[in-house]
Subunit: 229 residues, 2 copies
Amino acid sequence: MSVDCVIFGFDGVRLNVLIIEREQGGGVSALPGDLIRDDETLDDSANRVLYELTGLSDIYLKQLQAFGDPDRIKGLQDVQWLRNVREEPSARVITIAYYSLVNLQNFSPKAASFARDVRWEPVYDFAKLAFDHNKIVDKALEQLRLSLKYDPLIGFELLPKKFTLRQLQKLYEAVLNHSIDKRNFRKKFLSAKLLKPLNEKEQGVPHKPAQYYEFDRKRYMRIKDKFWF
Amino acid sequence: MSVDCVIFGFDGVRLNVLIIEREQGGGVSALPGDLIRDDETLDDSANRVLYELTGLSDIYLKQLQAFGDPDRIKGLQDVQWLRNVREEPSARVITIAYYSLVNLQNFSPKAASFARDVRWEPVYDFAKLAFDHNKIVDKALEQLRLSLKYDPLIGFELLPKKFTLRQLQKLYEAVLNHSIDKRNFRKKFLSAKLLKPLNEKEQGVPHKPAQYYEFDRKRYMRIKDKFWF
DNA sequence: AAAGTTAGTGTAAAAGATACACTTAGGCAA
DNA sequence: TTGCCTAAGTGTATCTTTTACACTAACTTT
């Protein structure tokens, strides 16, 4: 049994997914993942993979679902790679997929031992990945969209601690994949009072500087069941 | 690895969950489930469990999530039961939980080989189950509620093919666990045109007979992304 | 000083949600 | 056969939410 993580990162413009390139096996790309150890919970396992790959902990992480088609690891290149790294390369592997949200500002992925390279790929423009990992990414994106609609909190996981309304809007547009009216967007968040304005504005920008806000967690706790985007 | 199924059934008044009582192991109740076979997909496995237990196939069935705490099968009674039925009673078992929807009209559960008894339990009034099965039921109910809000289709899975508006409303009230205004409820479904009126009314009821409807799948396909309850 | 860029703001119209009470059709019992 | 019980079925007014839409303000660069 394994875990695989779909790690979403927002760079201010586009929604990205973290991809690793395998050390052995012809440069095929894949989601970060590993076999589950015998004494760890599923969540622990996903957190460990995340930590080993990125150095980050205390990150938003949520189980998506299990993928267990017996043929999911039977692709030609997949079999070759498994022969190199697994004791029982043809043993069936059910994987538990997780998705995770980070903001790209305070973040630098480092290549872990089992990977040659780590990089961000824009989520709407995607190469073929190993195993059934494309399917997993599709499902994760679908779930992310749904979650964003009924839980504003997860949006804030993708942003830095302080942010402008434009950043927040760009994030919604990137995830939902359509544009949104600026005035109506601002109205919605400001009237819900989910944002605390800070005594700080953008600096050095070649236009009117924007107000910084932070997320108001207390307020969120009170209204979370009523806020739908 | 195993699958466990939370099978919801609506009897016209209350939402129920199908529970089995173990043949060995002191009459502890549990969700229907079984080990996953080596050559079947996860969905196939859940369908098989469902078929073996209830004789039903072609039933709405959806993966909930995996539960994999290493200690989830370490309860005293659980260990005793496992010693009787498993080759490796202390081996770690990750379970993939499914939830399933049936209507109780054309349905009669039959006790399968591995169970002493099969029965419906009302979902809001629940005894202790084996392993972490109470947690699984809680999660399944939470998911069912959420799904019902953004996908009217799953409501119809719990009803007979023809039904009255009162039945539909009682279902929503049972799942969401609060009462709903009759006129507004009817307005919502009728104006969405999700219901096809049949040339048939209730018979033999001691009050004004209600119109029967059936679900309009074609219409549903067209509007499903816009209908939220 | 002019040009370029994004921030920030209000309103009117339409759609949707909410609250609320009486008449109708049938079965049953006195 | 009359009266009673029960759930079906229906409309409106008010409030809330959503939508569509365009200009001025503040800052940097040239």
